[in-house]
Amino acid sequence: MSNQDFVRRMPGAGSSAAGATLQRIHLDPLFLSLLIAIVGYGLVVLYSAVNGDTAVFTNQLIRIALAFVALFVAAQLRPAFYRRWTPFVYAGGVLLLVLVLFVGVTVKGSQRWLDLPGLPRFQPSELMKIAVPMMVAWYFHDRALPPRFSDVCVALLIIAVPAGCIVMQPDLGTGILVAGAGFGVLVLAGLYWRWIFIALLAVAMMAPGLWYFLQDYQRQRIVTLFDPQSDPLGAGWNIIQSTTAIGSGGLWGKGLFQGTQSHLDFLPESQTDFIIAVVGEELGLVGILGLLSLYLIVIARGLYIASQAPATFSRLLAGALTLTFFVYVFVNIGMVCGLLPVVGVPLPLVSYGGTSAITLMASFGIIMSVSTHRSW
């Protein structure tokens, strides 16, 4: 069927022969170069953050390679294929989430992992970051847009079931991200602004009440956000050390491999969730702005691809995945520089970790599939 595929030529990116070849194997040249740039940047920073621990670094290289494989595979599948399989993926995902609640492996007080025989241990909630927006997009694909109230209700139900399961693990951070991805589809689908405002207003009014539903450690994180010095050696330690790392980096940074906060172990989680602080310390404001620019171009490109997509399903899905990506970037950096409470969100494509990289690359693969398959 590939001979029917429409090969688009993007100005400035796909004009070369190599670009055309990439197009033919369903890879978006601009998108791909951006991702490689971010991943390369991330590897350099990670190499500094692991402090010469080549084993960890090699591990990450392997995961990145796997993630690119996931991207490539995901890009080959047609949007129609995704649409066909969406209900099954979603239902399977929900099933796994329910399974986690009963037989999940408990790590650090949360039951998030599933250890099925014959499979590597994994977090089903990670899958839902893609499956939920897919399902909402699937639901709206052949319905009238902007969505009617009853359709919105169904969509909310689609979102609420998995998100609820994830929050019960408990993993509030991932739950909110999964729900956010679903809401992204709703907003892109043209949900009336007044409904959005009413919903936001309602949430804002309920916020004080929500306080009582939070776990103690979650409350502590919010308290810490406003006053890290209340417990400088305990809950406040992370945020004090990460802001110190970023702040001390200044405009140009202390130089690659020269960060004292990270290399002397003051900065916790410097390879994973707090890696942007290493960028800030060693490469300064300029280094962070460079990375942020790359992220922004990725988001712009993702939204552009989405808006060019011929079908509702692929349009909504590509848009929602791009938005999710943005939310990761914003939440992670916001958390590390002390604007948001600490939640376990890695910095996309830079933080050390396999699951997140593979999920992200798979979602970029889907976006590329949307971009490169004219017919579906």
């Binding site: 847009l145 702040g247 001390s248 405009l251 800030g280």
Partner: protein, 630 residues
């Protein structure tokens, strides 16, 4: 706007989507803008504050303890130096399962319950996070090796090195009392010490020279600026301002003489203090038994500590300066000189000694040492010379009662009794030179004539330390010139502690001739022999034969328990610790003394027979090599 869309209108749907995407992208830009604003705040506006905070995180100024000054004897023999010890310390914050770790360490180096209990006590004290707390001190080489092998499997276990005082083991116990020792700085110490100077110091002088010269021996604290990681481990030293070692000091002590004195005492409880009469320098200061001061540095088991504390032999007690005893007959030369210089008696005057003395109108009998229950005995016709070499009690009962306490006490005080004359032995006891005012104050009783009678033979309330007796005999050796005992010979540079008090005034009263005659009498104590029964010096038979130099001496035997009227002293019936103390004081050569000493053998018995030979051995050890050189 959205409400006007029809059901399936792909174009409008796409337009609507594009609008939404644009709005959302704009929103994303705004949020990223907020992030950038925050980053600018951190990295540009408040950059310097965070730069400082980051430096404070990693850079620490640590005090460095100065090496303690060395202590040597007059021949340059090291009496105290420093050594590195290794201790096993734990960082509590890095240990998750304490019980498992302790069990593992027990398997590697062996831990006692005491060590664990002590560790838990230390853990309760205030400390910085990630500061290692000592668990086992010290570690042997083998233990360090075993720990090193397993180091990577023992997170939170550190081997801490420390420079500590060391007393050379072969001589540690011998010099423990003279040199003193150090102990760990306590919380109370820190309240009175200079907190800056002692910020890195772990040990402080506890006794003796170590205590008196603490200020000079301590040295000046140094500093280093180090880069540490979050766990407090030093990654690199950025800058160092080294500590200044304490001043080295050389003592008057002559370790060969110290060894000889200790050997002469043998295993007996007692003390020897030898002074150089010309300078007051303490040539030897032995208190037996001694103890190993190293134990107070490295730590010891409760068992050993209890043994030291509870022993009836009190090894921690410095008899030489803190043991207070009746001087017994060694006091008689002072009484004799008092009698002469007050004019109460003269060298030619004599009395009849029948073995006992009575005060007028009193029944109580004061006995001579030769007294027998039949009221017979005594030394016959006795002048001052004979009273000294025969040690007649009756003569001095009579003389003291005629001098009276009002004249005797001030005269004796000139010899340093009842005071601490020493320049640098501040912990020495002052003994007791009793007088009516003291008795009224201390006992609420009036002074009886009988009190003076007892003082005449060095008994009663009169108390002296071996150091004081050594000072007293030194004054006689110097013909009245009083010198202050001192431990210090010299130091690498002037010491702050040394602001010596002015020399005490020369003893007033005796003429040069009186001094010579008294010294002649004391020579008779040792050298007058072969004269027949009751005519020889009291010490001659024990030490007087074969001496190559002239030695002046006086024995003393101090009662420990009172012997009631009419009873005799029966040594066998008395508990060992109630037997008499044996004293001997001496100096030599008699006409140009270079050494003067006091020997005490606790519960030893007779002064001449027990303490005399000790004195002779010590003097021989000091003088014979010198004589051989000439």
């Amino acid at each position: 706007m959205a409400s006007s869309l029809s059901l399936n209108d792909p174009l409008r749907e796409r337009q609507s989507f594009a609008a939404r995407a644009a709005v959302l992208f704009f929103l994303a830009l705004c949020l990223i803008g907020a992030l950038v604003l925050r980053l600018v705040q951190l990295q540009v506006w408040e950059h310097e504050a965070y730069q400082t905070r980051s430096d404070e995180n990693r850079i620490q100024v640590q005090p460095l303890a100065p090496p303690r000054g060395l202590i040597r004897d007059r021949n340059g023999v090291l009496l105290a130096d420093n050594t590195t010890i290794y201790s096993l310390a734990l960082v509590r914050e890095r240990i998750s399962d304490m019980d498992a770790l302790l069990a593992r360490l027990d398997g590697l180096v062996g831990l006692t319950e005491t060590e664990i209990a002590e560790y838990e006590k230390r853990l309760q004290r205030r400390r910085r996070p990630f500061e290692p707390v000592a668990l086992k001190v010290p570690l042997t080489e083998a233990e360090i090796a075993r720990l090193a092998v397993d180091r990577h499997r023992l997170p939170g276990v550190e081997i801490v090195t420390e420079l500590v005082r060391r007393y050379p083991p072969e001589s540690a116990a011998l010099f423990a009392h003279a040199v003193g020792s150090v102990r760990r700085v306590t919380e109370q110490d820190l309240q009175r010490l200079d907190p800056v100077r002692y910020s890195a110091t772990r040990y402080i002088g506890r006794r003796g020279v170590e205590h008196f010269y603490e200020n000079s021996l301590h040295g000046e604290v140094g500093y280093q600026r180090v880069e540490t990681d979050a766990h407090g481990r030093i990654r690199q030293v950025l800058e160092i301002d080294p500590p200044v070692s304490g001043k080295d000091i050389t003592l008057q002590l002559d370790s060969r003489l110290q060894i000889a004195a200790s050997a002469a005492l043998g295993g007996r409880r007692g003390a020897v203090v030898a002074l150089d009469p010309r300078t007051g320098g303490v040539l030897a200061m032995v208190s037996n038994p001694g103890y190993d001061p190293n134990l107070f540095i490295s730590g010891m088991s409760d068992e050993i500590y209890k043994g030291l504390i509870d022993s009836r032999e009190t090894p921690l007690f410095n008899r030489a300066i803190n043991g207070q005893y009746s001087p017994g007959s060694t006091f008689k030369p002072v009484v004799g000189l008092a009698g002469i210089s007050t004019g109460v008696t003269g060298w030619e005057e004599h009395i009849e000694d029948r073995g006992w003395f009575k005060l007028p109108h009193q029944e109580r009998i004061y006995r001579d040492w030769s007294w027998k229950p039949s009221n017979s005995g005594g030394q016959g016709t006795v002048d001052l010379n004979r009273a000294i070499y025969r040690s007649s009690n009756v003569y001095f009962y009579d003389l003291a009662s005629r001098i009276g306490i009002a004249r005797l006490a001030p005269f004796a005080a000139q010899f340093g009794l009842g005071r601490n004359l020493a320049v640098d032995i501040d912990q020495a006891s002052v003994g007791l030179l009793p007088d009516p005012i003291w008795k009224q104050g201390a006992k609420g009783e009036v002074w009886y004539p009988g009190d003076t009678v007892n003082i005449g033979i060095g008994q009663g309330d009169l108390l002296v330390t071996p150091l004081q007796l050594a000072t007293m005999v030194t004054t006689i050796a110097n013909r009245g010139r009083v010198v202050r005992p001192r431990m210090l010979l010299e130091s690498s540079s002037p010491l702050v502690e040394l602001d010596p008090p002015p020399p005490p005034p020369t003893v007033q009263g005796p003429s040069p001739d009186d001094w010579e005659r008294m010294i002649d009498s004391m020579e008779d104590v040792v050298h007058r022999g072969n004269k027949g029964y009751g005519q020889n010096g009291t010490a001659w038979a024990y030490i007087g034969r074969g001496i190559d130099y002239r030695m002046a001496g006086k024995s003393g035997t101090a009662q420990v328990v009172e012997i009631r009227q009419g009873e005799t002293y029966n040594e066998e019936e008395l508990d060992e610790f109630n037997r008499k103390h044996a004293w001997f004081i001496a100096f030599a050569p008699a006409d140009d003394p270079v050494i003067a000493l006091a020997v005490l053998v606790e519960n030893g018995g007779g002064g001449s027979s027990v303490a005399g030979p000790v004195a002779r051995e010590v003097l021989d050890a000091y003088l014979l090599p010198q004589l051989a050189l000439r």
